[in-house]
Symmetry: C2
Subunit: 106 residues, 2 copies
């Protein structure tokens, strides 16, 4: 996977798709956090919100690791989770798409 060569055009497509997915992930998280905060009535729920945010931050940091060697795995995960659609990756060459699809199936 380290041998895949990303052209400048593919790098631009990858960056845009990555940022799109991350933006969607964060938008959804903000909505969820607001919703959880609104429903808080007792102190334990407040600390539950804190733990939830810490965990989500760590998950997102781990998942969104922008290295070219990691992108096929990341995009595979995002397609599987529905955070990206195939058309968001249109323009990538078949060698990258083949790797990405292999991760979608995992």
């Amino acid at each position: 996977m380290r041998d895949l060569k990303w052209t400048p055009a593919e790098k631009a497509i990858a960056r845009k798709a990555f940022d799109l997915a991350l933006g969607r992930e964060l938008d959804a998280l903000i909505r969820e956090a607001k919703d959880r905060a609104r429903r808080i009535e007792q102190p334990p729920e407040l600390w539950e919100l804190e733990r939830y945010l810490t965990q989500r931050r760590k998950d997102i940091d781990r998942l969104y690791d922008y290295r070219y060697s990691m992108l096929p795995l990341i995009f595979g995960n995002l397609l599987r989770q529905g955070r990206l659609a195939e058309h968001d990756l249109r323009g990538l060459a078949e060698d990258k798409l083949a790797h990405i699809r292999s991760y979608v199936r995992l």
Copy 2:
């Protein structure tokens, strides 16, 4: 301070005042957290809320340390911050009140 003798009646008063102050602190924090969450628009503000909750949890854990040897200092702090009023401590003997007042003045 370790030599102060707390009667059962004083212990009940102390516990009630302590729980009252802690309850007020947590109620205020819940209101503040809801307000901050409602105003979030961008991801950095979400992580700021997480850091804020972590910090406040640690501050509260440190401040509300229910040991008899610590109570005069704690009550002194709470009176100074306005989280307790003198009448919340009515019934404590003069030896404890003298210690507490010495911390209010610090």
